[in-house]
Amino acid sequence: MSRAHRPFQLKKWLGLGLTLTALLVAVGAPWLAAHDPLRTDFAQSLKPPGTAGHVLGTDQLGRDLLARVLHGARLALFIGGCTVVLTALVGGALGLVAGFAERWPSAVLMRKADVQLSFPFILLAMTINAIVGLGLRNIILSLSAAGWVVYARVVRGEVLSVKERDYVHAAAALGMSRTRLLLRHVLPNVAPSIVVVASLQFSSFIVAEAAISFLGFGIQPPTPAWGSMLSESRDFLYVAWWLALFPGGALALTALGVNLLGDWLRDTMDPKLRV
């Protein structure tokens, strides 16, 4: 692309910086946090930021907000990461098969995708959670069940174009089996799209998990998830603004970093891709 100057570099470095920070915090939360995120201390409840020993203040039960925000990163990235891997594997595989096999598997899959896209993503995941039950494993599964469609669509589209290229025809003419053709020639050529979609989806999964936990169908208190912390903060908005500001700020910065990184990846790897 011709406009490869300032804004792009900003995207790359800000995206990388924010994402790596979030990752480091997620991995290092137990060592970075000076307090146990679950330990309550009623003598210290609702202290504002800057209180000795509590940099970001404390919540209604006297739990250290910094520790809770740091541990929230762990949960958010874990859930986002598992969902991205799961949806990439399932959606990617289905998209490959649908693109390669054409005819009815393709038609069935695409109608299924149409139907699924007619339900708002969050509502679908939330309804599944309400039916099958709450908890860490179920939220990952429901987000994946609602989120694989995008990969399937993009990958199928890419496969349809890649398999008409000359090198694929040449390999087929040399007698390569279809499975081998798919794995050796088609898959490596659609892999960049899968990576780009995954990075762009990552932030929407993190935000979706927070939204679902916020509405009460995801991670439940007292586990420190950003969404459920924000939900609890609503009752204290008049007296403790910091309970709403910091978890949400951490969430927004993480989403921003991952988004920028995904944008940058798309610009460098696959500029024509529209997701």
Binding site: R3, P7, R111, K112, D114, V115, Q116, L117, S118, F119, P120, F121, I122, L123, L124, M126, T127, I128, A130, I131, V132, S203, V207, A210, A211, F214, L215, G216, F217, L230, S233, R234, L237, Y238, W241, A244, L245, G248, G249, L251, A252, L253, A255, L256, N259, L260, D263
Partner: protein, 305 residues
Amino acid sequence: MRAYIVSRLGQTALVLFLSLTAVFAMSRLSGDPVLLFMPMDIQAKDVNEFRERLGFNDPVPVQYARFVAAAARGDFGESLRYRQDAMGLVLARLPATLLLGGTSLLLTLAVAVPLGVLTAVRRDGLLDHVGTISTVLGQATPGFWLGLMLIYVFSVQLRWLPTGGMGGVVHLIMPSIVLAAFYSARIARLTRSAVLDALGEEYILTARAKGLGEGRVIGKHTLRNSAIPIVTLAGLEAGQVLGGAVITETIFAWPGLGRLTVQALLNRDFPVVFAAVFLISLMYTLINLVVDLAYAWLDPRIRLR
């Protein structure tokens, strides 16, 4: 054109039928649907009676046929909490959601399209950088957090706006801004890239070469040609606006479809949940049908394909 309309109508009917099937499948996800369709305080001895009365002892294909036949008449059963027709309850909340969704859609178009055009025309200028940064921020900021922050500033601190509920225009301001924020960011970015694409075309060069004023070049030749991707995205995102309404309505206690759905989910009032989910899917499918027909009408290449 007629053949195109007929085939799109057929596809729409198929998608609606499949989405009813999906709702039916969801109602079977937990294994024992009786648990989803009976009051929470039910006694164990009544479960079997309920199972018989709701028809869950029949073979699944029979249940499915009965479900689809009833749903086609708009009958999703009775709300377990309100003892009223579930679809009736959902429809009663629809106008509030349409008011909120319509307002934020207007807000989006009024802000995002001009912003996208200006940032494309003044590419790499100050406005472009400010615009790009704000759209990136707008996309990354979760709506429910933006909502809480707005409530804190404008209701708690400044006391200018009500924290929630429905009433006059003042009640509409914050929810429609929150709902429009994410949507506007995407539309503005897409408008920018669509306008940039169009600006690179040869007919723009021609228009400039024959001495047209910049106003006409942008207003007529560029905008008309970048309208299609914008209309497409606006249609595709309509479903996500309805999804966003679920969260926005909950934060601002807006008595619409989204809030009803969340409450119904919390109360495990599944007939209402399924009626609402289906209605949302129906609206989304119809919006997309209208969008498709609109550009077949705008662009002959599509209907002749």
